[in-house]
């Protein structure tokens, strides 16, 4: 490394830039302000080497860093000033924490002699961010900058990834010191990847080999651990049908014959019902979120559970594991394949297929090929699939459109599904799509957003306009906060409390940002409009006016068992 061990006297602010460069950072998102100005001054000098993208709100910077991390597999970086700048990052940090996204956030802080004096734009961001960061630290001396930043990047990306926040007082940014950079290689108190226990692996193999009705449920851990290929090999070798959580989407192509769909509240019919019929449930890199398990007391009680997991704290947290294989799933899966017998499980697989036929008849057909007048979200996704042929990154927000997009997108490549899973952050998609496109510049990036979530971070259209980043924005507009409205319809006797949205002219707004934009509300115009959007090499906004009161099915009502999934 060029920057290693070489010592030069520079300011703390410049040291931040050199540290970022030493970590291979080429792109950061942020918003300037008083307490971070020395760092911005250095960014100005280093703009050739380190691109800074000015978002329109710090929350946008955090989500953009997340989107970048998730398509590029690198650490995303967001920078903000003290006080409101720092607190505005918090939603993105909390989102990154629950969805295990590696980001490093750098915040400016008032000078150390002012700490605790309620100074202008002072806030205790260390205290505020503690429960939602993997690690955080306040730097008050410039000499701490290189070692703390190298630690920050190491912690963010190693083991189960997560967000790290580094708060730097303004005086530490000005202070000069002898800079030298060494990459962090380990921390005494931190063990990122637990040791693999071969005996447990053998126990797991024995249980799998005895199974008559095994089922694999994979999650984002497979993507984070770059274990997609080995998972595919494991599935194909064993012949075991496999299903995914929402964040696991795209790790295995949708069309793979053993990919049987999504589990969870709005997952597929078969995978949910068969969760309570399988005899062995093989969970890989997933954490049994309540949106996946439904009522825990009735979740897969008949099954032996094998849990492949990197984070020991996830073992037996929600679902008891008969065998817990700790470690990096890329390695564990590779080692277990030779121990697994090959089987066809034909009658078991037939169960998935026949339940899929029911779902297709009762739900999917009407979603994708509706006969009613109004447009559906499902057919919008079908037309998008037609043109992308699966080779696009789909960035979704939170709500009905998210469930529909994840259910119906045809994925052929991993890291193609970027969504806010655990935190369910409305407003995530637009800024995350900016980062996603910058993290995968060669790929088509389409963000699908509801009219509610779009307006939570709509100002990032300004970032798209300024950077000319060719994100394709699809707003599925039903004039409602659709998912909440659906619950009100189903569980609150149709009392639509504050879910109807009186919306502005989104096309005019997009055009106000000089983004090409159009609106479709007729079926016979949809195909051509999607085609125009996807063939454009510039940012493009497409509003699709869909049926106002459509519901997303299948659905497991909150607190119900996965096998009580409803088709209507």
């Amino acid at each position: 490394m060029k920057n290693n061990i070489k010592s030069i006297k520079i300011s703390g602010a410049e040291a931040v830039i050199h540290s970022l460069l030493a970590e291979g950072v080429v792109l950061i998102y942020g918003y300037p302000g008083g307490a971070i100005m020395p760092i911005y001054d250095e960014l100005y000098k280093f703009q050739e080497k380190l691109q800074h993208v000015l978002t329109r709100h710090e929350q946008g910077a955090a989500h953009a860093a997340q989107g970048y991390a998730r398509t590029s597999g690198r650490v995303g970086v967001a920078v903000a000033t003290s006080g409101p700048g720092a607190t505005n990052l918090v939603t993105g940090i909390a989102d990154a924490q629950i969805d295990s996204t590696p980001i490093v956030c750098i915040t400016g802080q008032v000078a150390s002699n002012l700490l605790g004096s309620d100074a202008f734009q002072e806030t205790d961001i260390i205290g505020i961010s503690t429960p939602v960061t993997k690690w955080n630290y306040q730097i008050t001396k410039a000499s701490e900058i290189p070692s703390i930043l190298s630690k920050a990047f190491y912690i963010a990306k190693s083991g189960r990834p997560g967000p790290v926040l580094i708060d730097i007082t303004k005086d530490a940014q000005f202070e000069e010191f002898d800079f030298k950079y060494e990459h962090c290689r380990g921390i005494r108190s931190y063990k990122p990847v637990p040791d693999l226990n071969i005996d447990l692996l053998k126990d797991a193999a024995e249980i799998i080999n005895k199974a008559k009705k095994p089922m694999i449920v994979w999650g984002q851990g497979v993507v984070l651990g770059q274990a997609e290929e080995i998972l595919k090999e494991f599935i194909e070798h064993s012949g075991i049908p496999a299903v995914w959580t929402i964040l696991g989407a795209s790790a295995i192509p949708t069309s793979h014959p053993l990919n049987k769909g999504m589990v969870g509240m709005h997952g597929n019919y078969g995978p949910n019902i068969l969760t309570n019929e399988c005899d062995v449930l093989i969970a890989i890199g997933m954490r049994f979120d309540d949106r996946v398990t439904g009522k825990l007391e009735t979740y897969a009680k008949q099954a032996k559970v094998i849990h492949f997991e990197i984070d020991p704290a996830e073992i037996n947290k929600n679902v008891y594991a008969d065998v817990a294989v700790l470690g990096d799933c890329k390695i564990s899966l590779k080692k277990i394949i030779p121990l697994i017998n090959q089987d066809a499980y034909s009658s078991w697989i037939y169960r998935f297929d026949s339940l899929m036929e029911i779902e297709n008849e009762k739900v999917i057909k009407n979603d994708l090929f509706p006969t009613k007048k109004g447009l559906t979200m499902g057919e919008s996704i079908r037309i998008i699939n037609k043109y992308t042929k699966g080779d696009a990154v789909i960035v979704t927000d939170v709500g009905q459109h998210q469930m529909v997009a994840c259910r119906y997108t045809n994925f052929i490549k991993s890291k193609s599904n970027i969504t806010s899973g655990g935190l369910g952050t409305m407003g995530f998609a637009l800024p995350a799509a900016i980062g996603a496109k910058m993290g995968a510049p060669g790929r088509q990036v389409i963000t699908i957003i509801g009219d509610g979530g779009f307006q939570m971070t709509i100002q990032e259209l300004g970032t798209i306009f300024q950077t000319k980043i060719a994100v394709k924005i699809v707003v599925l507009n039903n004039g409602f906060l659709g998912m909440v409205r659906q619950w009100q319809q189903m569980f609150f006797d149709k009392r639509y409390a504050s879910t109807e949205m009186v919306n502005p002219d989104f096309v005019k707004i997009a055009k106000g940002y000089y983004i090409d934009a159009e609106r479709v509300s007729e079926r016979n115009n949809l195909d051509a409009a999607v085609s125009r959007m996807l063939s454009s090499d510039k940012p493009y906004f497409l509003e699709i006016c869909v049926e106002k009161e459509d519901n997303v099915f299948p659905m497991i009502p909150t607190g119900a068992s996965v096998s009580d999934i409803r088709l209507s």
Partner: protein, 178 residues
């Protein structure tokens, strides 16, 4: 199964500002009340030790320990029930000096409770008592009638009856990082 138990959690950690917040946040997030919390140096150079006492369901304790160990700055966490540890609390009692001379009975109370008189001044005197909670509590109740001016009780400090494997763990880590 559903009755709560008292657990003494011992946490070996790095000495970093903010770690206390991070650990207490784990309990806060789960709506668990902390009965006692104390920090000190441990038997190992540069390793800190937290002792946290909580009253929780047995099925919660393992999850809590794993969440604590998940924190980057935590080296290792253990939990023990009361019969697996030797534990004590210290209490200080400040009483008006006049009662010491006017009420002969108080001298018996002090003697019987095996408490020590730390300091005596014309206005007040201070008693110290180390022991179990019910012992320090018993003395507090008895001294109330003599006009207790101030009372304070420390958090629990405890050592385990069995050996702590922490030194071994640190040696393994040291070798790995090198």
């Amino acid at each position: 199964m559903n009755t709560k138990e008292t657990y003494t959690i011992s946490i070996y950690s790095e000495d970093n500002i903010g770690l206390l917040n991070r650990i207490s946040a784990i309990f806060l997030k789960r709506h668990i009340n902390i009965e006692s919390f104390s920090t000190s140096l441990s038997e190992i150079e540069n390793v800190f030790r937290f002792i946290v006492v909580v009253n929780i369901h047995p099925d919660q304790i393992n999850k809590i320990i794993l969440q604590i160990e998940k924190q980057v700055d935590v080296i290792k966490a253990f939990y023990h029930t009361d019969d697996e540890t030797i534990f004590q609390e210290s209490a200080l009692y400040k009483v008006k000096s006049s009662s010491l001379f006017e009420e002969r009975h108080i001298q018996n109370v002090i003697k019987k409770s095996h408490a020590n008189i730390v300091t005596v001044s014309p206005e007040y005197f201070v008693i110290e008592k180390t022991g179990f909670r019910d012992e320090t509590e018993d003395l507090r109740k008895k001294l109330l009638e003599f006009g207790l001016l101030q009372f304070v009780r420390s958090g629990r400090i405890s050592v385990t009856k069995s050996k702590m494997e922490i030194s071994g763990i640190l040696n393994i880590i040291k070798k790995k990082i090198k």
